[in-house]
Amino acid sequence: MPTGIKDKVAILGMGCSRFGEHWDKNAEDLIVEAYEECLDDAGIETGQIDAAWFATAIEEQHVGKSGIPLAMTLRLAYIPVTRVENYCASGTEAFRGAVYAVASGAADMALAVGVEKLKDTGYGGLPQRSRGVVNDMFIANASAPGAFAQLASAYRTKHGVDAGDLKRAMAQVSVKSHANGARNERAHLRRVIDIDTVLKAPIVAEPLGLYDCCGVSDGAACAIVTTPDIARGLGRHHIVSVKALQLSVSNGIEASHNSWDGSYLMTTRKAAERAYREAGIKSPRAQISMVEAHDCFSITELVTMEDLYLSDDGHAWRDVLAGDYNADGRIPCQIDGGLKCFGHPIGASGLRMLYEMYTQLLGRAGARQLADPVLGLTHNLGGFPHQNVASVSIIGQLGA
């Protein structure tokens, strides 16, 4: 049994750009916006960073490949810079690289940066891309909402949920995130909406309507990590540490073997089980203070509540409607607005979620501050429900 990452690494600083449609900014501008805040927060200089991990998913759309764009943008000191890409978990992957570097002793201070500049594609949503020479010959002609919409039909069939009830619960997922986003000045979408607005919106992919889908945004987020000892040495008393970093990647069972029923995410469940074990969490419902789930689509967030073992199987739709995941609910979810309203610049999203947890844990969240959070969970899901990458990360008060 590995001993795990718990409390071995502290977050020294974080930064996050405003997310949105930044017609006036390049990816490099967004990186710098997030990095300046992060550096200021960490109280160090660029020259103190030993290694960096750089996340960007659709690199051909903006900065290009490799670690070079990050090193060039921040004038890093000829240190190792690794570019990582793992769909929507890319930002979390950059964080994992930096954390593991510190935990191993290979670096005293490591930087994780995620960025995505999507608003130069000419597309309203994510760009249509080739999925590989052979894949293009046989995989379904699916948009991202189309792929995730599959969860809805399988979920309602498995659990006998009326299509109208499920649609309403999905709507509540978005209504809640809009209410949260409206209170966050950095969020992309800041309008409060009601259930009727969601229900009446045009259909994107049956049964997902416009408001069941997250925004497509430009943005960057970053973190500087170090050891708790070094953090203390720099005068930190209130330290946020990493409790668990888990990743699960589909191996083809969901896509090719009839043991999966299509109503849940196998990967999220595996990653969550391992993350709770790594963090020493026995009762997630009692111990997790807040969650940033990968709410690319309302149905994704809904089933994720079950996949994270925060709702019983088949009950998440009721829990959502009961307000369990609202800002004042049992376990506040997407307190910053989530992908839905804060926005979803793919490579930055994982770090953005961690940024919100970190902000809350340090009591810096202002109007949306939750009372005494101890542990925050972030979750990313990239790809399709039948073939994906899922990450579950937990950070919290050092020693908690």
Binding site: V133, A140, N141, A142, P145, G146, S153, A205, P207, S256
Partner: protein, 480 residues
């Protein structure tokens, strides 16, 4: 005894209402009114002469063993490739194996009967497929008259349903219409000239000559399959000494004229209803004429394997939206949006490596644990197996399947939005997230039974290529 051992047909589900053609074009061409009755069969956006050929062949096979086929002959004037043997694509899709002869027969509406005559000339077990997807300009008579369809026949010795009695051909370079190699549309001369100076002189004489050659009295012909509209067919029959009532239904009211495939589709329809001992005459027209004579044997009592002409006619769905027909047939400049701009180039080297999987829908079956999976891979997907290199090729195109999950996707580009797709689960094992086809709103849900159909996956207009794959269609009694 040499003859036809099985017959099948395919008619696309979409039936364009001819009234819709008139409504759109009558202001310009009022003469269309005389043709504006009934419907014509028209391909879905993802169908062409090759996809229809595959479906007609499957209709013909049923569950019959395909291993013994020694030759495939494909007849059409609307083949998608001018230089890439089209029959080879059909053979690959049908998993006929590489050890067969193959040929395309084309460039005349007579190609269908000529292909059949070639195959019937010897006992080499052959698959003869006639398929036609003719294009016509908007507001033309052809747009009203043409219909898309395909027919397929197995020929050879042995267990025939109709014995080949003989054939007779004449060749005359009469240009009632023509289409240059690089053109999409026909150019026709005055119809009255073509009819009176061409068809009515050449075809009755050829039929009469065939009967003499085969020592048959005109009265011996129980059914006559003729390639034109009902009135013309009756005139030809009369001039050739045949009784008018032997002329088979032209299917103009539902299907339209399927060009090179037309005599085959009518013949398949006739054979499905024929009794033993009937003498059937089949005539094809184009730069002369072919006349083939068959006689049904006791084997005709065997029930056809597939739904055939009548089953496919019953599966029809009326299309009243003329604009959609125009868009599907590239007859209108349509704003398709930025998502349509994705380059669809095919790496033919990769296609070749994976041709049984992509074109033939051949998956894998683990020789260690028996798990069926698609695509075939190096490592078994069964979590309790995981063996390396154990998967044997396993054809899955005819496997029973149902919907596990689905959506109708308005965001992704499709020529016929929303694109329906979902997780298709095969009863024998295996699954695949697949595109659906021939599906209307409300026609699919979790648990809906499906049948796979060979379809066009993508068009690469920049390079004149198109790639084929299989899609799932809701199962109906007619396509079961």
């Amino acid at each position: 005894m040499i003859g036809i051992t099985a017959a099948g047909a395919y008619i696309p589900r979409t039936r364009l209402n001819r009234e819709a053609i008139l409504t759109a074009n009558g202001w310009f061409n009022p003469a269309l009114r005389s043709l504006a009755k009934g419907t014509r069969a028209t391909c879905n956006w993802d169908e062409d002469a090759l996809t229809m050929a595959v479906e007609a062949a499957r209709d013909c096979f049923g569950g019959e063993d395909r291993c013994g086929i020694g030759r495939i002959v494909l007849a059409s004037t609307s083949l998608p490739f001018g230089d890439r043997q089209n029959a080879a694509v059909v053979a690959e899709a049908l998993n006929l194996g590489g050890g067969i002869a193959s040929m395309d027969v084309t460039s005349s509406l007579r190609a269908g009967t000529s292909a059949l005559a070639v195959a019937l000339a010897d006992s080499n077990p052959s698959l003869v497929v006639l398929s036609e997807h003719r294009q016509a300009r908007a507001a033309s008579a052809g747009e009203m008259a043409f219909g898309d369809a395909a027919a397929a026949f197995l020929t050879g010795g042995g267990n025939v349903i109709a014995e080949f009695i003989g054939c007779h051909s004449v060749t005359v370079d009469l240009v009632d219409h023509y289409r240059a190699s690089q053109d999409r549309f026909d150019y026709g001369w005055e119809e009255r000239w073509a009819r009176d100076e061409g068809i009515m002189k050449i075809m009755p004489a050829a039929i009469a000559a065939a009967l003499v050659k085969l020592a048959l009295e005109p009265g011996a012909i129980a059914r006559a399959v003729l390639p034109f509209d009902a009135a013309s067919n009756r005139r030809i029959a009369g001039k050739a000494g045949l009784r008018e009532e032997v002329v088979a239904d032209s299917l103009f009211a539902e299907m339209g004229n399927a060009g090179a495939a037309h005599p085959g589709v009518i013949l398949a329809d006739v054979l499905a209803a024929a009794a033993p001992g009937e003498t059937i005459l089949v005539a094809g027209w184009g730069q002369g004429c072919d006349v083939i004579v068959l006689r049904t044997s006791d084997g005709i009592a065997r029930r056809p394997a597939g739904p055939g002409v009548r089953g496919h006619l019953a599966r029809g769905r009326i299309e009243a939206n003329y604009n959609r027909y125009l868009a599907f047939n590239n007859l209108i400049e349509q704003e398709k949006g930025i998502r349509s701009e994705l380059d669809k180039q095919t790496a033919v080297s990769a296609l070749y490596r994976n041709r049984d999987m992509i074109v033939g829908f051949v998956g894998g079956k683990c020789s260690a644990c028996g798990t069926v999976q698609f695509p075939r891979s190096n490592v078994c997907v069964n979590p309790n197996c995981g063996r390396f290199h154990t998967q044997e090729p396993h054809p899955m195109a005819d496997a029973r399947a149902t919907v596990q999950s689905w959506t109708a996707d308005h965001l992704t580009y499709s020529p016929d939005p929303p694109n329906h797709f979902g997780m298709v689960v095969f009863a024998e094992g295996g699954r695949l997230m697949m595109d659906f086809t021939d599906v209307g709103k409300g026609e699919v849900d979790v648990g809906t039974p499906l049948r796979l159909m060979f379809r066009i996956k993508d068009y690469d207009d920049r390079r004149g290529f198109r790639r084929y794959f299989w899609k799932a269609a809701p199962l109906s009694p007619a396509n079961d």
